[in-house]
């Protein structure tokens, strides 16, 4: 308890010096007005905005370097390859992977999870094998496993969540059996904001010799992530939720595991020698990168990493924690408002419903006030079912948001009350 207290005190001290408005100026999209009101962007969990340095890195690549990677001896191709591989090194550093061989570029978290299911799972799992997930997963960490189950006869086991939106305590021990082959878990929930106790879960899984994939899509924009310290076997995330471009993401995999996994797509770049009688696959990570990659996207992601490291993830975490606490407090004062997801450890997300006002109406009305939030099931239908709501409204934060943004949200919800009075 006092260790937690100590940590909170330190975080508060860091947060105090954080100048969100200074960083906000780096995001051109945020300078505009919507319906005549200053844009208040609170839909960061869907996708985050891009700072000028990321936009410049992408356009700079197309203006000065554009060329295919890994296959030319000409000057531009060498420069493009260098920039592309430089981005891989940045991504490695960002999550503290041991080597760039563990960093596979993919389209995003969704593709990363599908890759693991199809390459790792399909080559190993048999009928009756069990895959553990949680009730709070994004559809992208459910459906790839369901497809795998259809292909192999494996079955899903689901860790239930509590009314607060936390993993049911002790569920881990209860669910693991001798048939358990895999645990796939959100690091941070996109619908509830819960930060899962992933270290404990990983320890529990590893005691049973079960590898763990963490879906880090909603963690990387908010928290420092160290895959080495976490001890996870796979980690998936998307560039576009961490201020980089769409179309690029990363699958981290422990080298020994990736080494043993078969390729999942065939094509150029992933091979060493192709003959009609036998093909030899390329080394890691290229074995998993068939075809021309999203070169500009990777370079943009690298620029986003540089930018985040310049600000400092610990500072971002500290600042957002205070902002989330402020938002929670303000929203709880709103008449008829109920927060969905009240875990003790949360990041970035305020999901809520308002008595007598459907989330969809709420979304439209606050949009007219310039406030962008998401309404719906947030690609987590099992979570909606668990909380007996058809949908929620969700405000999701980034480090460029301020208390004033949350005040604007509260005022906008007040407008919705007026419409339906």
């Amino acid at each position: 308890m006092s260790a937690r207290h100590d940590r909170l005190r330190k975080l508060a001290a860091v947060a105090a010096g954080f100048d969100a408005l200074r960083w906000r100026r780096d995001f051109p999209v945020l300078w505009q007005r919507v319906h005549g009101k200053p844009l208040v962007y609170l839909d960061n969990a869907a996708t985050s905005q891009k700072p000028q340095v990321v936009i410049d890195a992408i356009s700079g690549y197309y203006r000065k370097l554009n060329s295919n990677v890994h296959r030319g001896v000409h000057h531009l191709s060498e420069l493009a390859t260098e920039a592309f591989e430089g981005a891989r090194e940045k991504a490695r550093h960002f999550i503290h992977a041991a080597t760039v061989r563990e960093i596979v570029f993919v389209r995003g978290a969704t593709e990363a999870i599908n890759l693991v299911a199809q390459s790792y799972g399909r080559s190993r799992f048999k009928a009756g094998d069990e895959i553990i997930l949680s009730e709070m997963e994004h559809h992208s960490n459910i459906v790839p496993w369901q497809l795998l189950c259809e292909q192999t006869g494996a079955v899903l086991r689901v860790i239930p969540i509590t009314d607060a939106g936390e993993l049911e305590p002790g569920a881990c021990e209860k669910l693991f059996t001798s048939r358990t082959r895999f645990l796939a878990l959100a690091h941070v929930s996109n619908a509830l904001g819960t930060i899962n106790p992933v270290k404990d879960m990983i320890a529990c899984a590893h005691e049973h010799n079960v590898p763990v994939l963490l879906d880090g899509a909603q963690a990387v924009p908010h928290l420092p992530v160290d895959v080495h310290e976490l001890g996870c076997d796979f980690y998936a995330f998307s560039g576009h939720k961490m201020f980089g471009p769409t179309g690029i993401g990363v699958l981290y995999g422990r080298e020994a595991l990736l080494q043993d996994m078969p390729p999942w797509q065939g094509g150029g770049d992933m091979i060493r020698v192709v003959r009609f009688d036998k093909t030899f696959y390329n080394d890691l990570p290229y074995k998993f990168e068939a075809g021309t990659p999203d070169i500009a996207g990777a370079i943009g992601l690298g620029a986003a990493v540089d930018y985040l490291e310049h600000i400092g993830m610990p500072a971002i975490e500290a600042y957002e924690r205070q902002l989330l606490a402020y938002g929670t407090e303000q929203l709880q004062r709103v008449k008829g408002l109920k927060l969905v997801g009240t875990a003790r450890e949360k990041a970035g997300v305020l999901s809520f419903s308002v008595d007598g006002i459907h989330p969809h109406d709420l979304g439209t009305i606050v949009d007219r006030e310039g406030v962008a939030i998401r309404t719906g099931h947030h690609c987590a239908m099992p979570v909606m079912e668990r909380f007996h709501v058809p949908a929620t409204a969700r405000a999701s934060l980034a480090f460029y948001n301020t208390r004033e943004d949350l005040d604007a949200l509260v005022r906008a919800v007040g407008k919705a009350h007026q419409v339906f009075l």
Binding site: I357, H358, P359, H360, D361, T364, I365, R368, T375, G376, H377, M381, M384, V389, P390, A391, K415, V419, F420
Partner: protein
């Protein structure tokens, strides 16, 4: 465009106290409609007397636009023939999806209050869900649920 053009008093009223919001125990046909994007769900109950829709009701949950639209629809369609209902569907469809509605709104009567929805492209499906469900149940009595996504 003002919010009040979307959430007109009639709509707010029909959302608060939806008409024909009940089950018809001896319905000739029932059908579920679902909009997965926002979670709107409705079940339509329809009673046919020959070619005439002698009773029409609904249950479910949804946003104000979808509830009000369903409520207004049941009020309007009850007592009409199948052909008349299908004709109304076409009119509503034009009203909600066409950029240029030159047709006069007169025949739509109260249903015209939904015209504001056109300015909110993400909300058009909320207003059309009940109508698509109705059309479906009229055309294909044995169909699976309608989904507007």
């Amino acid at each position: 465009m003002d919010l009040k053009d979307l959430y007109q008093d009639v709509i707010v009223d029909h959302n608060r106290s939806p008409r024909n919001f009940r089950r018809i125990a001896d319905a000739s046909r029932t059908l579920e409609g679902f909009n997965p994007l926002c979670g709107d769900k409705l079940t339509l109950y329809l009673k046919l007397d020959g070619d005439r829709i002698s009773d029409l009701s609904f249950e479910g949950s949804g946003c104000a636009i979808s509830v009000a639209s369903a409520s207004l629809m049941t009020e309007r369609v009850k007592g009409k023939t199948v052909r008349e209902a299908e004709h109304l569907f076409d009119r509503m469809h034009d009203l909600l999806t066409r950029d240029n509605v030159n047709a006069d709104l007169e025949p739509l009567g109260k249903l015209a209050v939904l015209s504001g929805v056109r300015e909110y492209p993400s909300r058009v499906k909320c207003a059309t869900l009940c109508w698509h469900t109705l059309k479906n149940v009229l055309e294909h009595p044995g169909n699976p649920p309608v989904s507007t996504e």
